[in-house]
Symmetry: C2
Subunit: 394 residues, 2 copies
């Protein structure tokens, strides 16, 4: 899967600099448009503190029956903890976009990402919208993908082809921003999954199942943020049947975006896949994986290229899932470093080489209590992470 992605049929996109970020920090206003209002579903942050857009998106999706014509996204300002004025600004953005497109305001979803606590420069946004709408094109995916970045060091776009019906082809294009769940400026994860395949009767359930296996298995440092939003959106009419190949294609794209986010984590030098096996069920496997992937001890060990199985075992032990250390196995890359109560110090050199030589590394634990497994993605925790976050405003 390469970055030379295009939009699925029926979508256009654009991006430009509206003056929300400081000059020289890149574009900051992006638009996705469908030719018609078409079905979409969204999942949002579970933080009690939410950006202004979260409530408005929920409201718009409810009022429009889940039919979306456009998504307008700004970076450089989270519009979070901004009270009534923040809500009014998000509404005005949606209304002005709707007027330019000739659709109902509730068919437009506004979204924001960036620093918390500042009001949107609404006049600059309103001034920029006509050009943003005018320039939307089927070739605009990179312009959009760039406009939603904040502290990301890389654009994140992935595309997957699938066989939709008979020999007809369809596509999934995924676009994300995020250098972790948490940013120095509270910018956070936004992700868009666009397709020209149908979504079937229940796009919301489809997205929730997908998120459980992908976005909810990604952590940089365990903090959630106020603006996290994932949108699944098809250009096909409502209730168009979903091909069997859609779910695996969506999962492939979403997982690849998650891995791209983890790899771009602040200060990260390694993409880490935490493999949990031998659990009683997938849910418990994912719970253990999330705790291991959040453990500062495990993540600093990886930064130090240290296959420290004791830290992995101990982190797994605090997930609240019963298992017996005497029946567990721990591996780092290709090397089993602990098995059935027995450490294997002689294999640690090989495990260290894996951590040192690979950019994408694997650590794993088999709990020995069942047959289920799950993977969770994270990154290592380096002194640079601390430096970036300590020095941000000083």
């Amino acid at each position: 899967m390469q970055d030379h992605a295009a939009l699925p049929q029926g979508f256009r996109a654009s991006g430009l600099y509206a003056g929300i970020k400081k000059k020289g920090r890149g574009s900051d206003l992006g638009l996705l448009v469908a030719d018609e209002p078409t079905p979409a579903a969204a999942v949002f942050t579970n933080n009690v503190l939410v950006g202004a857009h979260v409530g408005i998106c929920r409201e718009h999706l409810a009022r429009s029956g889940g039919l979306v014509r456009a998504v307008v996204v700004n970076s450089g300002c989270a519009n979070c903890a901004t009270g009534e004025e923040g809500l009014a600004n998000a509404r005005r953005t949606a209304e002005a976009t709707a007027e330019l497109l000739g659709c109902a305001p509730e068919q437009v979803l506004p979204m924001s990402t960036g620093a918390i606590g500042a009001q949107l420069p609404i006049e600059r946004i309103l001034d920029a919208l006509p050009e943003l709408v005018r320039s939307a094109s089927s070739g605009g995916v990179h312009a959009f993908a760039d406009a939603i970045l904040t502290t990301d060091t890389r654009r994140k776009v992935r595309m997957q082809e699938l066989v939709a019906h008979g020999s007809a082809r369809a596509h999934v294009t995924g676009i994300a921003k995020g250098a972790g769940m948490v940013h120095p400026d509270m910018a956070t994860m936004l992700s868009f999954l666009l397709t020209d395949a149908g979504l079937g009767d229940d796009p919301t359930s489809l997205l929730h199942a997908l998120a459980a296996r992908t976005y909810h298995r990604l952590t940089i440092d365990g903090d959630t943020s106020p603006n996290d939003t994932v949108l699944l959106w098809s250009s096909r009419p409502s209730k168009a049947p979903a091909p069997d190949a859609l779910r695996p294609a969506l999962e492939r794209v979403a997982a690849d975006l998650c891995r791209a986010i983890a790899r771009d984590g602040e200060g990260a030098t390694r993409l880490v896949t935490v493999e949990v096996r031998g659990a009683r069920n997938e849910d418990e496997a994912a719970r253990v994986g999330r705790v291991v992937a959040t453990s500062p001890l495990t993540k600093t060990a990886i930064a130090g290229r240290d296959p420290n199985w004791g830290r992995i075992l101990s982190a797994a032990g605090r997930a609240g899932i019963p298992f017996d250390a005497a029946s567990a196995r721990v591996w780092v890359g290709p090397s089993t470093v602990y098995d059935l109560g027995q450490p294997f110090p002689e294999r640690e050199a090989e495990a260290s080489r894996h951590l040192r030589d690979e950019e994408e590394v694997t650590i794993g634990i088999d709990l020995g209590v069942g047959d289920a497994g799950a993977n969770v993605w994270t990154c290592d925790l380096t002194a640079d992470y601390v430096r970036i976050n300590a020095d941000y405003r000083t």
Copy 2:
């Protein structure tokens, strides 16, 4: 409360170098003895992975009816993930100590702290026990407190006098080790609260209530460890009534030990007290406080002397406790930096000075939904924390 502490009446202590740690790293075997078997209660780690001593302590306390004659503690080896051999070694340590003291083995509690996965050098321990028992004295509190340290940079002893009955005086002496919940070598928190006041009918409930307000409100990085143990132990006979002044004296000592542990956190430059106010009840206040105190964003901001209220508000928002950001207040030291939906950038310079000039700093949030509050202790997260933990074994 100074460090020139003594033991309460009826206790003796000792400490020496038995050869468990590498030479030059300090003493590694400590003993606490009561003149008679007397009442004690313990709380242990809730990690699924537990050191060998945890199960044996539970078993001994059950078999002895909660009467303890001695506690023998080694540092330099956690005796964790060591299987049957580890359990046998912990039992032999208790049995040999009991024989030297002339008591039942279940009246001796063995405890270990240090690196995970290595077996105890049991012959060295057995060789050292006679001298350890012989040298126990009423003046041995510092010898014991030193022998239980691992990566701590400071000995942790606190003492408090209380009026026991009429004008009779009693004492609480607290001893702890721990430079955080988590150590590079999985060494972790041990704490002993000794008193010559009675503990009343139910020492276990007394200790649990105490731990809820003190030890469970301390976090360095959110990881729990396999060996955490807190022991409350009186030299008075079973069922001796507990004076009213005991609980506040215990809480004072325990809170001070927690603060000492947070201040000695790995890489820490600041002791941080997180004050949560305006919660519906104390439990919810403590939950919010623990999440804020675990947030890497909040802790790196303090390392950077940055009064970043957005990070505090957002961390509080992910605790699962409902509140409205528009009714919340956030302060840093003496300065309110956010109130009722409004940031106060002009007060941030003063807040920064607090973070820069004080070694013990305060951050706080009023949730605006009730009258309850709680404090949680932690430390800042510095690049040194990462360096210590990344470079430990390499």
